[in-house]
């Protein structure tokens, strides 16, 4: 068994692309996501209608806003915004109320609205709404609260692709048949593979976690070792999942073709979209997605600061997956040898 694990490690090390894909690619993508979802110092541009009382304009100017004057020859705020894509909002306040016209529902717009609201409440402190979160804080970025989903996604995806391709190659090259014509047990073959890739999975998990927590400074309230354990279980599931999928693919290209069926649904049900927002109770589908268990466990640890008592259910889900997929794979090898 260990000979096989060693061979898998050596073979993967010899293939620079696989190593990059397992170890470097997740860091690269996480960095990109961090930059995309992280805090921005964007200053929205708002055009203020001249009917707006000067004290209101004054408080707006105190906010992180670039306040300009709306030219008085514009016929409508919408027309003005359409022809001025660099202006985020048109603001107008008079006796009848306050109007904000925005370009489109986007992150820029929501920053503009947030800043405007902050300005207006400073005029009338009684209207101030204090927001506090049970988990996390108001100044956390989307990256802090959703980053855990990406952590589990990448860990799963990269390992899945590498393992599925390796198994497909092994089948089509005939090395699997040759391997099974030696006195090695079927269970040893699958176990050897799993252990071999788990070695990379551990490395990957350590790298990803250290990188996100210490370099990207993603907020983490919980025990990092628990996160590592979850990632390891998730990656092990990915190895076996890849091996299972390889039965249905006869080339590496077909593995890629199957991704819409294997990975994409998991992305949607991984926690990126709150499950009770998904219509027709489809959210329940997440219980058949391995990534859901990994992402949920990591969320419990990193966002809620929970420990083993709260996440054992998810861990059990992953272990269940591992056992079932392991047995499926050992049975699938019967095609080559039924002893």
């Amino acid at each position: 068994m260990m000979q096989l694990a060693k061979r898998v490690v050596r073979q993967t090390l010899n293939d620079k692309r696989s190593v990059m894909m397992i170890l470097i690619a997740p860091l690269l993508i996480l960095t990109l996501i961090y930059l995309l979802l992280g805090d921005t110092d964007y200053v929205p541009v708002i055009a203020v209608d001249e009917v707006t009382p000067p004290q209101v304009v004054m408080v707006l100017e105190k906010q992180e806003l670039d306040v300009i004057e709306l030219p008085n020859n514009v016929e409508s705020a919408k027309a003005y915004l359409s022809s001025h894509p660099d202006v985020d909002a048109v603001f107008r306040a008079d006796r009848e109320g306050t109007d904000i016209t925005l370009q489109e529902p986007s992150k820029k717009s929501s920053i503009a609205v947030k800043e405007i609201q902050a300005g207006l409440t400073s005029l009338n402190p009684a209207a101030k709404i204090a927001t506090t979160y049970v988990h996390g804080s108001t100044d956390q970025s989307t990256f802090d609260s959703l980053g855990y989903v990406f952590l589990s996604l990448f860990s799963f995806f990269m390992v899945f692709v590498i393992s599925a391709m390796a198994f497909v190659k092994e089948r089509s090259d005939g090395t699997l048949e040759r391997l099974l014509m030696t006195p090695i047990k079927r269970s040893e073959v699958i176990l050897g593979y799993t252990v071999g890739y788990s070695f990379f999975a551990i490395l990957q998990a350590i790298l990803i976690v250290l990188y996100t927590v210490y370099i990207l400074q993603m907020a983490s309230n919980g025990n990092i070792f628990l996160v590592l354990l979850v990632l390891l279980l998730l990656a092990t599931t990915a190895v076996l999942f890849g091996a299972t999928i390889s039965v249905f693919a006869s080339s590496a290209l077909q593995v890629v073709q199957l991704i819409p069926f294997t990975i994409i649904p998991q992305v949607f049900f991984s926690g990126l979209i709150a499950l009770d927002l998904i219509p027709y109770h489809l959210g329940n589908l997440s219980y058949v997605m391995p990534i859901f268990y990994g992402a949920s466990a990591i969320k419990e640890i990193m966002v809620y600061g929970n420990g083993f008592e709260e996440i054992w259910g998810y861990l059990l889900g992953l272990v269940g997956y591992i056992v079932v997929l392991y047995l499926i794979n050992v049975l699938a090898l019967k095609k080559f040898r039924n002893t």
């Binding site: 000979q3 096989l4 061979r7 050596r10 073979q11 993967t12 010899n14 293939d15 090259d173 005939g174 090395t175 048949e177 040759r178 391997l179 099974l180 014509m181 030696t182 006195p183 090695i184 047990k185 080559f336 040898r337 039924n338 002893t339």
Partner: protein
């Protein structure tokens, strides 16, 4: 160990590829499987080692009903495609397959030296298989199959793409291996190689149409040339009297 194939048939998706083959390969002989492309040589070999289960009939090696895992310790198999790990060096490939037979470390090391010499790859042992030529891959594949000194050796077209000089050397080795009591089953297209074998089995369209010592078979032909065995096969299959 001898090999007994009894009334064995094999179908893939309703299509019968091996038809009712009865064949006993004698212990310690070199038996060659002759037949045109697609006739079922590879399938027959896979049936004999137990890589696929027969649809009908049985295969025994020695006293053991195949497929059997323990017996695989005594079997060497060189598949028609090379079945090597391209990302590993020649030596790593040998080390890996050798370790599956649980050979003792020192013995394995010594055997690796020996087989590398036999297939003349000692100078290339640290190269990755990826950069090997077709013939070098074939030789490495052969080296792996004889690494554990099997008692029964199955070779599926072992000398395709190997030059005449090395081919002669490899056949010398086969006879050497036979001296140790190993039974060798080899499929081939190369006519000169038939004469090197003790017996030949002619396979045509999945059926065994002739099985005899090579001398007897050649006596049946008019010119004494091996090619005629094939023509003989083609004629018999048509149901007609062979000339």
């Amino acid at each position: 160990m001898n090999i007994q194939v009894k009334e064995t048939s094999k179908s893939f998706d309703q299509l019968e590829v091996i038809r009712d083959v009865d064949l006993t390969i004698m212990s310690g002989e070199i038996c060659c499987l002759l037949g045109p492309s697609g006739s079922g040589k590879t399938t027959l070999i896979r049936l004999m080692i137990g890589a696929i289960a027969p649809s009908k009939g049985t295969v025994h090696i020695g006293e053991t009903l195949m497929p059997n895992m323990k017996l695989l310790n005594d079997i060497g198999f060189m598949p028609q495609n090379n079945a090597l790990y391209e990302d590993l060096t020649a030596e790593d490939n040998l080390n890996f397959f050798g370790s599956l037979y649980k050979l003792e470390r020192q013995l394995l090391k010594q055997r690796i030296e020996e087989v590398l010499t036999i297939v003349d790859l000692t100078a290339h042992r640290h190269k990755r298989v990826q950069v090997f030529s077709g013939g070098m891959k074939k030789r490495l594949s052969l080296a792996i199959s004889i690494l554990h000194k099997p008692k029964v050796l199955f070779l599926d077209e072992p000398t395709v793409g190997i030059d005449p000089v090395l081919r002669r050397e490899i056949w010398r080795q086969f006879h050497q291996i036979k001296q140790d009591g190993t039974t060798i089953v080899v499929s081939t297209h190369v006519m000169d190689e038939v004469i090197e074998c003790d017996r030949a089995a002619l396979i045509y369209n999945g059926a065994l149409i002739e099985y005899d010592t090579v001398d007897n078979l050649l006596a049946k032909t008019e010119t004494g040339r091996v090619e005629e065995l094939f023509l003989l096969a083609a004629d018999q299959q048509k149901g007609g009297d062979p000339r």
